[in-house]
Assembly symmetry: D2
Homo-oligomer: 340 residues x 4
Amino acid sequence: MKRGFASDNNSGIHPEILRAIDSANEGHAVGYGGDPVTEMAVQRFKQEFGEDIEVFFVFNGTGANVLGLSTLTHSFNSVICADTAHIQTDECGAPEKFTGCKLLPVETIKGKISPVGIRRYLHGFDFEHHSQPKIISISQVTELGTLYTVEEIRAITDLAHEYGLYVHMDGARLANAAVALDLPFRAFTVDAGVDVLSFGGTKNGMMMGEAVVFFNPELTKNTKYIRKQSMQLYSKMRFVSCQFLAYFNDELWKKNATHSNKMARLLEQEVKKIPTIQITQEVKANGVFAIVPSKIIPQLQEKYFFYVWDEQRSEVRWMTSFDTEEEDIINFAALIKSLV
Amino acid sequence: MKRGFASDNNSGIHPEILRAIDSANEGHAVGYGGDPVTEMAVQRFKQEFGEDIEVFFVFNGTGANVLGLSTLTHSFNSVICADTAHIQTDECGAPEKFTGCKLLPVETIKGKISPVGIRRYLHGFDFEHHSQPKIISISQVTELGTLYTVEEIRAITDLAHEYGLYVHMDGARLANAAVALDLPFRAFTVDAGVDVLSFGGTKNGMMMGEAVVFFNPELTKNTKYIRKQSMQLYSKMRFVSCQFLAYFNDELWKKNATHSNKMARLLEQEVKKIPTIQITQEVKANGVFAIVPSKIIPQLQEKYFFYVWDEQRSEVRWMTSFDTEEEDIINFAALIKSLV
Amino acid sequence: MKRGFASDNNSGIHPEILRAIDSANEGHAVGYGGDPVTEMAVQRFKQEFGEDIEVFFVFNGTGANVLGLSTLTHSFNSVICADTAHIQTDECGAPEKFTGCKLLPVETIKGKISPVGIRRYLHGFDFEHHSQPKIISISQVTELGTLYTVEEIRAITDLAHEYGLYVHMDGARLANAAVALDLPFRAFTVDAGVDVLSFGGTKNGMMMGEAVVFFNPELTKNTKYIRKQSMQLYSKMRFVSCQFLAYFNDELWKKNATHSNKMARLLEQEVKKIPTIQITQEVKANGVFAIVPSKIIPQLQEKYFFYVWDEQRSEVRWMTSFDTEEEDIINFAALIKSLV
Amino acid sequence: MKRGFASDNNSGIHPEILRAIDSANEGHAVGYGGDPVTEMAVQRFKQEFGEDIEVFFVFNGTGANVLGLSTLTHSFNSVICADTAHIQTDECGAPEKFTGCKLLPVETIKGKISPVGIRRYLHGFDFEHHSQPKIISISQVTELGTLYTVEEIRAITDLAHEYGLYVHMDGARLANAAVALDLPFRAFTVDAGVDVLSFGGTKNGMMMGEAVVFFNPELTKNTKYIRKQSMQLYSKMRFVSCQFLAYFNDELWKKNATHSNKMARLLEQEVKKIPTIQITQEVKANGVFAIVPSKIIPQLQEKYFFYVWDEQRSEVRWMTSFDTEEEDIINFAALIKSLV
């Protein structure tokens, strides 16, 4: 299918990733992560995030988020998150179903939450009638393609820790964030006070696979059981682990994310030239949000698949990915121009 | 790693499967199953099982079982199964956690359950204090490497339907069963009265992927939500779907299963020659169960990875797979011989 | 203990209710609701709400709400409610834990939600990533002591039904609402389009007991199992049923609620005379909300137990009940006056 | 209704209990257990079981069992119990639904489980595929009216503790056990190694109310939230607490249980005289199990309500209670005699 702008998960597998799967496909390997490839992949995460972590590989992003949240909560807890968070709007209630917790949505500004909005949920501690707040969850990159600065993250983690809460980061697009911030992963995760991280791979060139990285290893003594019970334990684990090795090797993650971020900026530039299109969010990573004349949307979608983000505002979301080509952008922008 | 006998999921990916992934890796595809490869794969299942089915692809066997059970139950139901069933002993309580149902274990004879054992749970209908029986779940091949005949399955499905229950079949090794019975899949599933099937791919040469096949499509109007909420919806679905296409193409499933069953029989023959080893189960598919002198187990395991099935009886389980080679069997048997 | 203003559930048991328990305490009775007293109580509800209902008695308000919600949802559904709703803020996540559903809070005006706020959640239907909206839940009386008019309820139920949703009413203080609206129960419940009702007894003079009234009996074929599994089935049911009979007899419910509403208005009047106190909500039923100088709150609480509703605004909640006496109000108002 | 033999919960409220409710019904009381009556009741439990306990009052037996199990487990744990246990057969799956755990039934001898049967489930520790055993649950009195001796309990608690498991006792009929054993409660609970106890009141003369007694208080820091989330927190708590005070006062519990046990023995004696009736279980407490000619069962049930325990064996269960009268037994036995 023609490359479109629906989602970075409409993209394929980066050739280096596929090569790694092929290479790992030799002989037998102990199942469920007891193999040497998995051990190497875990070590690679330790290089990135420090020795004092625990890493668990899972199938998908929802699984990663749920495993992170489950490990750190009881069913009587609550999870504070953006009202646009993936866990709030796009996981069909998996977090509630599996953790039993209440999710408390905070209104966002530029796709982000901040202490002001969070604070109104920080009450009722020790009061048995009240779901006990335990986690603040933020997405980096956010669902609106924007970014938290290190200072913004630190403000949230400090607040969380002051009240005895943990901070979860949904990093489905963590590589795009690292590139945009021009920082190593750890600078805006563990070093900024994050407690548990969903580290995404699928959206940035992997075939599938996410990692849940815990920065308080002492909290993870039950995580292996939770992973199994949440149906996220892969038998032939080596074939996810090898992808992560390839992902880190030669900084493939960075190349991919750099490219896809660049493509988003190019799209932004091209589209900005078209008078009737209004960019609605800062383009920091690989997403472009724009208000477009509603009548051209179906015509555009005939040629390029993408989602309407907010029907009422006629706001659309265009995602770029590692395999987007400049030509795709140019042609797409030209089509828009011709339609308005 | 050297090929061992721990599990058929210690094996790798069949080259044809990997080639299919490579071929599917072109351009973009709509996510979550809205792509043409998935549509083709679904059609392929309909060729196999008839038009009147619904198919849902998932990541792994536990996910497949839970999706099938969840679709057909409410939390106040019970699921009757073998006391050796994977859902009872190897899924860390995923079925209970996700469905809320009670699992009722039936003692097995040769790894199988039958109406006699099932009947004692068929009471308490309409009595609100009692978990309402709703599903009988059987595994084909069983966890002990044995097989239900069509007649045995029919006896169970007739009983189930008489009482308004559904029958779930855990077919993690369905291909091995089809080969051993020398029957098409449908002959001992839908045509024998089975209502929902976990159709396994991972253990027989696929990289990963299982299918849940429903033979009462009218029962599946909620299944897509359940799959998402149970964290089993794969974004880049085409890369599972293409594996199923390759799996059916040129009957790869049959070649693989035929080979692995053959290897199990060879192992049985070789081992039978060794006086102190006692084969404990009929070798019908790709598993060999044997009582071996306990003192040689650690020595054997140094060279070949496998599991002890029953410590007290000193009973071990040896699984063969599509990539087991004759030489592996000969060498392994020779090692046993040399140790006893 | 001195009568205070903390909650109408700090009150005791009305003597007529206790007399009914005493009268029902003769001989044996079939357990779990199979007794004639329960049958009579169910009939009494039918007189009130029409023949075409199903009624289930439970222990407490949280149990009632959860039983109503569970009966009408699957775990992949969402429940739209006020951000001040009891199910959202005071049940420690019981609805999420037991139903698996997502709760979606709507901001309130005068304690009430309306179609404008609700509509923003009415999207994503048929989209598997999205918790499917299934219930709108409103409280009558609201948690802020205000009331929905019949027209306001009708606007919500019409909207709900247009989208295929059900409407749940949390009627923990339904009697206070009926008295304040001067309407029979059915006029603002079933006749206004409500689908399921938590009918409260405990807060208005009963020892304990709530009823879940379903106005679509065909939806309740599983409710008896859900009640049992949710631990809300009382063995000696006659002792709740007899309370409901007494509650309806001679309109005890109306006498009690009329009195407690009257006491709230008296408190409002008395307190209004005190310059530094600001009443913050219309006093429609038996709750008075007021901003009081924060420094006098502890002094007041020494003598009369009540809750601070909003610490930051220094807003308190004073509830009256069936056994509040005029003297209590006069003395309390006098104390406030003396302290400010 | 005529007194029958269906269940001890078909009985009414002992007059002393009702008097206590009446006495507690004065003025207001802080809700949810913050009242002085509840404090006194807790102290009374400490007199009985020692200072180092935590007690939580709940509505009913299922709620008590689930609160005890939930407090001590994670969802990936398993609970080992008798195949006749109330939690296994009579709670409609509430334990699975609320805890997420797997229940593992052990076959019983004389209604009891023992280390031999339990041991087969004590494996798979630390193995992530396996629900981790965490609780052994026993009922005292058992569901078959039999009793564990202190030594038998100790054998189970020792085994449990050796493997890091806890022991839960379902004491719905604990008073009947204490009387039958002629021991104080603590001798066969905390002093015999039990970790958490469901202490029943409803079946022995209370209107309603059970207590969950934890003998490891350090394990209960979350229990108050779990009680609320499991819908077992009673707002007007004083009216359960006062019942427990009356229950302990003048050893009302002992009088009631002594009487009901005596009635069961009388029934046994009378029935033993009838040749065609075969008593099937030792009559230790207040239940009599007997095989009776199947044709007379409906005739008997016309006059006296009771349950058939095992249809195939034509075995019935007759329960006596605190309010059973000698005359009831004599008349019932005479009726049986006349029918056979």
